[in-house]
Amino acid sequence: MLFNIPFIAVIIIISIGIYAMLYKRNLIKIVIALDLIESGVNLFLVSLGYRNGGIAPIYSNAPSTKMVLPTPQALTLTSIVIGVATTAMLLSFCMVIYRHYGTLDARKIRRLRE
Amino acid sequence: MWTQYLIWIFLGIGLTFNGLGAIGLLRFPDVYTRLHAATKATTFGSIFTSLAVVTFAFTQLYLNGKMANLQLGLHTIVAIASLLLTNPVGAHAIARAAHRSGVKPEKAVVDKLAEVKK
């Protein structure tokens, strides 16, 4: 019924992220693009483990016993926490670069260094 | 059971007020009127759709007596309470920030608040 539409949405989101990483020059916008790619990968992992008519893999007061696959959810859980930590570190680098060079444009920073 | 009709009435009230809030957010001219429509009407409507869930839970508890339904009702009441606590504060902060950042109301001639603060 729902024929692979989540996978197509994931691919469009990841392509938007790759395009922004290649063509934009602002460093904060590149970090936003990295966040988008990470969200797309998380959505791909979770939708890969979905099973038609399944319920969440928790036995407390469950209505039935047909469950979705639990392993991709566990991997996604660790991925999200790592993602926010690396995002914070990259933004710290951005603030330090802005104070040192006075700009956030990637090309100008590369020109200033020489 | 007669509570079924009560659930339908609650859902109808909730959907109507949520829709009025969304249309008001889309159609009004400036920030303050949009805030007025969106925040108040949406909070009211969401409380009523949640009250339908509470009614459903207690009806099921009366019919088959499982304790899980009591848990559903109590947790929904906690969710309503936290929604009621946090939503007006956000609206207040947005209105204050909009006025401080220099957004004027549409077609306004006097601004008493700016005179008071000086």
Partner: protein, 152 residues
Amino acid sequence: MKMSKIVRTQANFLYPFILIFGFYIIAHGHLTPGGGFQGGAVIATGIALIAVAYKYNDIKKWLKKTRLTATEGIGLLAFIITAICGFGTSFFYNWLANSGLLFGDRVPYGINPGYLNTGGVLPIMNLAVGIEVLGGLGVIIVYMLSYVKEVK
């Protein structure tokens, strides 16, 4: 600068509830959705709420960076020690499950309403990871705020 009085009063009123709810999520991690990561993130968001409602110079005495970093280290250390305790069989062995000790009740197979005294070593690990995530995500916010304050 600090925000208006309404926001400060509400933050004071709401902060204990966020704390209690975060520890509820951590403690019931093996029965309901939730666990160490999620509960720690909820409490760290509570710290961010306090940091936004007040001026940074006023709350500098309460939110010390060294204290939060020490919290993070203690959490990581407790996690590793709990893992080492199962060394009789393997590194991450669940040695408390089905033993009758603390958190050691036998869970009935299949659908059940959920009993708190089960899970073996999982609630202890949930608590350790929750403390670690709380310290780590809280200290990042405090570091960035203090840097912005010093530079501007």
